[in-house]
Structure formats: structure tokens, C-alpha cells
Amino acid sequence: MAAVKETVERVKSVDVDAYKYGFSSDIASDKAPKGLNEDIVRFISAKKGEPAWLLEWRLDAYKRWLTMQEPNWAKVDYPAIDYQDLYYYSAPKSTPGPKSLDEIDPEILKMYDKLGIPLREREALLGIEGSGRRVAVDAVLDSVSVATTFKAELAKSGVIFCPISEAVHSHPELVKKYLGSVVPTTDNYFAALNSAVFSDGSFVYIPPGVRCPMELSTYFRINEQNTGQFERTLIIADKGSYVSYLEGCTAPKRDENQLHAAVVELIALDDSEIKYSTVQNWYPGDKDGKGGIFNFVTKRGDCRGARSKISWTQVETGSAITWKYPSCILRGDSSRGEFYSIAISNGRQQVDSGTKMLHLGKNTSSRVISKGIAAGRSDNTYRGRIFAHRKASGARNFTNCDSLLIGDACGAHTVPYIESRNPSAQFEHEATTSKISEDQLFYCMQRGLSGEEATALIVNGFVRDVLQQLPMEFAVEAQKLIAVSLEGSVG
């Protein structure tokens, strides 16, 4: 019962719109002028000392972006974004580029400590809560990466793990070959915007046959006011390799909305496997829907090689607006895609999330498990597309998306698109929406649990399928997050 007790304590200790990571830190920063134009794109590129081809690529994306329209098909409703009223680049003044930890602004270190992210390897070596496992961290603050841990140790096994701005210089051939090969600049409005102004993010390359010796992780933090964060992550798993990558994100409580438009590209070559886990906990806004992050993210994995596997696991609890569809292109024969998601919305949050599984190769398989929980006055939508190409014989998909409604002012929606052009493809889809059954609640309460305890227990059972897929460090955190997100929604 320890977990339940902990959940309840958490629920009690925090107020209705409690957001643990809502503090802001006073870090001197260096910003580009407000607004977006070609000069800003050039400014960002120059700040990073980028080669000419990358600047061209950015400018091309910017020109395409100008011709595009913001998508409006998602079931989210938000005030128009003034793209000229944002800072597109903001970097802590003291660290123009990632340096050794001793040189980092102590204020930054303090902030990460407060977030529970150990940046000092000495501390990190102790592992997380005695699990004995180690995690290498790339810490991205606003527009730049401030520190990357365990780089030396990873390099021993040939793993490249560094900020993408650094990879452009140290491994230009890899970046040039793979950047934009999964999410082209013109893929969608936000991807085009990201391609034009992306500032930093992580770059990972796992050489053939290597099993990455530790979990890799990026921690994204937006600190500065009025800035947008546009990070770009590129992960390449070469033949026969394996990597598990974690991503976490938080932002201070602010009254205005902030934009986060990231692009994540995964490339899995023959026999490789990428496991990508996210715990998204951007500031969701207060209970009246004021403030919060607009999270418009394009995440896509390309199973380019035969027998490759990409697995997405996400726990979505934050953001005022979420627009996010981590997808898999199953190009290689016998490749496999997985998507496990828990999306929790409370207050006035709006979530439109799901996945796309595009079966192109033969005997490809995919599995989608999505659990949506809506509480308060929120809207929670699952939107997914399963597609079998004419040549994708033997494709197999199983989709299960369940929604749970807590309270009578929220909405839960399911919008699956299931498209098959191959007779031997087998697609199964099932979805249910319900509320926590009175019988189950009564059963738990009869055994001495309060209404809130009982709800937390049942919800944890509801999302168990997905929690099991998370790396251990995250599973614990995710469980706590679920309790906090649902706080105030019972009774």
C-alpha cells in the first residue's frame, strides 16, 4: 500500500493547480531580437557557426514555412499565435557552448538540482534512488545545450552523444546524411518552422553492433519569458545496435503561453532497436486555462532496415495544448513499431495525440496501446492512423485505445484512421470509453480506501500496460505524475 499512500500524500500536499516545476530561475541570457525573419534565421545559424549548407537548408525551410498554413484539423482550440512576438533564440550568457561542468553558471546547476537532474557525474554515478543504473544526460536550457554528461565513457564504446549544434561540426557527414531524412522540412507547418529556427537538441549515433552501455537522456527546460523552444533531436541506430533514450521536459509557471515546436527523428538500420521514452510535463497552465505551453511536436521514427524496431513510450501530463503524433515508418521488411501512451489532461488542458504506423515493408508489425484520462474541463483526443501499402503483405497491427472520464465537464475522443490496401494485412482496432465503475470503487472503499485512494489505485491499474514499458527510473516518476495530475478531480 506504500504507493497508494504516497499518491494520497501527494494529492493532499498540493493545491488544485499545483505544478512542482513552476519556479523560474534568474539566469542572465543572451537573446536574439524578437520576431522572425530571414535575419533571425541567419543570426541563429551564425551563433552556432554553422556551415553554409545548413544555413541554406534553414532558409529554404523558412521560405516554405511562409507559404504554409497552420493546421487546424486537430481537436484543440487556442488563441492565434503571433509568431512575431516570440524570441527564437535565448541562451544563458555564461555558457555560449557546453563546457566542463565547473564552468557552468552555478545558478543553472542549482536549477537542475532542483529539478532532480544530476549533472555532476560524481553524483550521477550514485545512480537514481539506489537502482544502480546510470543515465547520461544532455541538458537543454531554452535554446542551447548546457551540459552533456558521460560523453567520455560513451565514446569508449563508440557511441556519439552530444548536442546537435556540436555534431554539426564534429560529425557533419552523419548530420548531413540524416537530418531531415525522416521529417522533411516541408512535412508540416511546425516542422518547417522548427527546421528554420531550431537551436539545439541531442544527437545520438550508435555504431554497428553496439548496445549502448547506459540510458541516454535529454532534459528540456524552458526558462526565459516569451521564448519558443525549437529543439531538434536526431538518433541513428546503426546495424544491430540498441539504445534506450529518455526525454523529460518542464517549464516555469507563466501567465502567457509559450511555444514549443520540436522535431525528433529516429533512424533504425538493419536489426537495430530504438526505445524512446518521454515524460512530458511542461507547465499546463492554471486551473482557468491561463498560461501553459503550446506543445506542437513532430516525432517520427524510420525503421529503415530489415528487422529493426522502434518503440515510443510517452506519458503526457503537461502542456496547455498538445499536438503530438510519434510515428513509425515501417519501411524495412519485418520491422516493428510500437506506441505506448498515457495522456492525462486536467484543468483546461487540450490533448490531441496519437500515432501513425505506416506499413510499407513486408511482414511488418505494429502495436498501439493508448490510455487517455480526461478530468476537470479538459479535452483528450486520440488520433491515430494505421496504413498498409499495397506492397505491405503480411502487415499486422493491433490497436487498443481506452479512455477514462473523471467528472462530467471533460471530453474524451477517439479518431482512428485505419486504411488497408493489402488483403493480407491484418488490422484490429478496439476502443472503449467509460468512467471508473461504481462497483470497482465500492469494492476498494469497502476495504477501507477513501474515494481518492481508490481512484488512484484503479487509474494506476488502467494505465499499467503502458507504465510497464517505461524504463524503471521513469516508471516511478510517471506514477507520481499521474497522481498529481488527477489531483482534485475526484468526488
Partner: protein, 423 residues
């Protein structure tokens, strides 16, 4: 990519707009008509970017609009039984005799009397954004109005037989209205044929009073129009039951769209259907079910069997409005693909704003199970026969729900013949 595109009117859209302006003022329902004209002028024909029409790009598929069928002669034939003929969109035959409590009138006669209440019931789609329904509201001149008095049970099915006269290609538009009084019950069978090449836009509007029961059947025939959009708009009152079955085996391009609203508590809605598609046929079944009040029940079951280069579309949306507690919704769509070039697009959808509900949907797409075929073959059936048995069983699961025995027998026969032709 979503580049900004300037909407250019297609030839079909231009012609349709001309049909609108060529039509003289219609008097009583002119206001509804003008609203529809404005909606169509703004939206044009639906295309890929209109979410509800994503898989049936009518703007692209309907290159030209054939001229509207000329108004039929005023003479109305007297039919045996409860058969109504609608030829070229006009009422051309009514039953000779009607049982007590049943009235059937030509729509043009009703419109001429300008009964405001009836006109309001004829155009319930105000606020809808479907431009094909708007097209129908703007251009349909005739059809039929069926009314059952409270408590009356009509045992004989009322048959609405749609067809065209012979001659040049044409388009025909009609609108029919069924008003089922409290506690009444009736069966409506809608059959579609055409003697000339035809583009049809038909709409059937039903109002079910408290405790009423309507059993509706939609049926294609081997002379179905090339292009047909059939809209069904239903309002289901308290404790009423609306059941509809669509049997689709013909027609090159068919879109059947059903907008069903549960407006009274404890109402039951059942929508089911079978689609047998081959060649280059394209059939789209789109349902929008709205539970506006508590205690509603809806069940959907659709089976698609697709061969050749045909494509099937199933979109089913269940909307549960805030406060519509205790809604019980269950939807199932299954498709069998029997050839390499067959395609199926499934989109079951839930939109739920009430917490105390049980709603679910299931969708499957696949081919025949090789093990099951093998099992039957090991018992001595030839392969084609073994497959036939399985396909038949698959389709019959839905056909079972057809209440009217004659119609059910007819569907089973068509199914057998279709399977026969397959091998």
C-alpha cells in the same frame, strides 16, 4: 504540406450553381432554399480536405453535373400495395388505397399548401455544414411525405422506389419526409434504380415521436445510378426505436450518409449494413450519431466484402453531448479484402463529453483465415466453395438483423448470386 490554395470552381460546381439560379422562387420554403444556396456557394462540392469526405473526394470524382431531370407530368399513377414511385425526383405514383392512420402525399402538394410546421420538419439540417445536403435542399422539388397517426401499426412495408425515365444522362434530386406519430410503427424500404445514366442526390428525413418504431431499409439494385449520394436525417424521440439497414451491392460511386440524433431518453438506434463491392466500385458509408440526452442506446454493425479494385469506406462517429449520461454505444466495422487491389478505409470515431457512459468500437480489416479455409477443404469442400461458405457466414451476421423477412430473403439471394459470380 498545406499550401494556401485558391478555390477554383469546377465545371460541376459552376453548373450546379447555375441550376440554383435557374430555379424560380419556391414560395414557402424559399428561406431554407436560400440558406442552402449560400452554403453551397461558400463550400462547393466536398473534397479531401473536408474531414467527413476525406476518402470520397466528390469534387474530383464528379467532373460534370448532368442537367436536372425535367419536371415530370403532373399525373400520379395509382399503385397496388404501399408503393410510391419517385421518377426523376418527382412523385409519379402513390398507393391506390391506404390503411387507416397512414397518409402519403406528394411533397409538391404539401409545399404548395405552405404548412410552416411541416416545412420546418422538412429541413432539419439547419446548422449542418454538408454541402451535398444543402444541394439537395436547394434543388429538390418533390418527393413524398409519409405520416403515421399515433398508435397505428402499419404491417405492410412502405416502398419508396426511386428511378429515372429513359434518355439522356441526368441528375435527379428528391427529398422525402417520414413523420412517425407517437407509438406508431412502420417499415420503409428505399430502393434505387435508374433507366438512364444518372447522378442522384436523395434525402430522407424521419421524425420519430415518443415510442415510435421505424424500420428502414436502403437497397441498391442492379440498375443503380452511377453516382449517388443518399442522406438520411433522423430525429429519434423518447423510447422510440430507429433501425436502418443498408444493403449495397451496386452503383459505381455511392455515398450513404446518416445523421441520427437521439433527442429523447431511452431511445434505441440500430444501424447496420452489408457492402459487396467489386470492379472499380466505391462505396462510402458515413454515420454521425448524436446522443443529445441521457439513456440512449446505439448499435452499429457493418460488413464490407471487397474484391477487384473496389474500395470501401466506413466512417462512424458517435457524439455524446454533455449531460447525455448512461449512453450505451457499441460499434463494429469489419472488412474482408479478397483481392490484391481492394482497399478499405475505416474510421470509427468517438467524441464524448459525458462521464457516465459506456462506448466502444471495434474495427478489423483482413483476408479470409487460411486455417478456416483449410478446415473446410479438409472436409471435402472445393476451395471456392469453402471460401464462399466463410464469406456468406461473415455477411449473414449482419443480414440477420433485417427485420422484414422479404427483404432479408432478397439480400440473401443477392449475396449468393454475388458469391456465385465471384468464382
Amino acid at each position: 504540406m498545406n499550401p494556401r490554395v485558391a478555390q477554383i470552381k469546377t465545371q460541376a460546381e459552376t453548373s450546379l450553381a447555375e441550376f440554383f439560379s435557374a430555379r424560380a422562387s419556391t414560395g414557402a420554403h424559399e428561406a431554407a432554399r436560400q440558406k442552402a444556396v449560400a452554403l453551397f456557394a461558400e463550400k462547393g462540392l466536398p473534397h479531401r480536405r473536408v474531414e467527413a469526405w476525406h476518402y470520397t473526394d466528390l469534387r474530383n470524382l464528379m467532373r460534370e453535373a448532368w442537367p436536372l431531370a425535367a419536371p415530370a407530368a403532373a399525373k400520379v399513377a395509382a399503385n397496388d400495395g404501399l408503393r410510391v414511385d419517385i421518377v426523376d425526383g418527382a412523385c409519379a405514383g402513390l398507393p391506390r388505397a391506404l390503411p387507416a392512420g397512414l397518409t402519403i402525399r406528394a411533397l409538391r402538394d404539401v409545399l404548395a399548401k405552405a404548412d410552416a410546421a411541416l416545412i420546418a420538419q422538412l429541413f432539419p439540417e439547419a446548422g449542418s455544414h454538408d454541402s451535398v445536403v444543402a444541394l439537395n435542399a436547394g434543388l429538390a422539388r418533390d418527393g413524398v411525405v409519409v405520416e403515421t397517426a399515433a398508435g397505428v401499426k402499419i404491417d405492410t412495408p412502405i416502398e419508396l422506389a426511386f428511378t429515372t425515365g429513359q434518355g439522356a444522362p441526368r441528375s435527379d434530386m428528391s427529398r422525402c419526409l417520414v413523420i412517425a406519430g407517437a407509438g406508431s410503427s412502420a417499415t420503409i424500404i428505399e430502393t434505387h434504380a435508374s433507366a438512364a445514366r444518372a447522378q442522384r442526390n436523395s434525402a430522407l428525413v424521419c421524425w420519430l415521436g415518443e415510442g415510435a418504431g421505424v424500420d428502414h431499409v436502403f437497397e441498391t439494385t442492379d440498375a443503380s445510378p452511377e453516382l449517388h449520394v443518399a442522406s438520411l436525417i433522423v430525429d429519434v424521440g423518447a423510447r422510440a426505436s430507429f433501425q436502418s439497414f443498408g444493403f449495397i451491392a451496386h452503383g459505381d460511386l455511392l455515398r450513404r450518409q446518416c445523421f441520427i440524433r437521439q433527442s429523447g431518453e431511452y431511445a434505441k438506434i440500430g444501424l447496420r449494413g452489408v457492402c459487396l463491392l467489386k470492379g472499380k466500385q466505391h462505396a462510402d458509408t458515413t454515420l454521425a450519431i448524436e446522443h443529445a440526452v441521457p439513456q440512449g442506446e446505439s448499435r452499429e454493425l457493418f460488413k464490407h466484402i471487397i474484391m477487384g479494385e473496389a474500395s470501401g469506406v466506413y466512417q462512424g462517429k458517435v457524439l455524446v453531448r454533455p449531460g447525455a449520461q448512461k449512453t450505451d454505444g457499441g460499434m463494429k466495422s469489419q472488412a474482408l479484402l479478397l483481392s490484391d487491389d481492394a482497399a478499405m478505409y475505416n474510421k470509427p470515431e468517438l467524441e464524448i463529453y459525458a462521464d457516465d457512459v459506456v462506448c466502444g468500437h471495434g474495427a478489423t480489416i483482413g483476408e479470409l483465415d487460411a486455417d478456416q479455409v483449410f478446415y473446410l477443404m479438409s472436409r471435402g469442400l472445393p476451395k471456392a466453395r469453402a471460401e464462399g461458405v466463410l464469406i456468406e457466414a461473415f455477411a449473414r451476421e449482419a443480414i440477420e438483423f433485417v427485420g422484414n423477412e422479404t427483404a432479408r430473403a432478397r439480400f440473401e439471394e443477392t449475396l449468393s448470386a454475388w458469391l456465385e459470380a465471384r468464382s
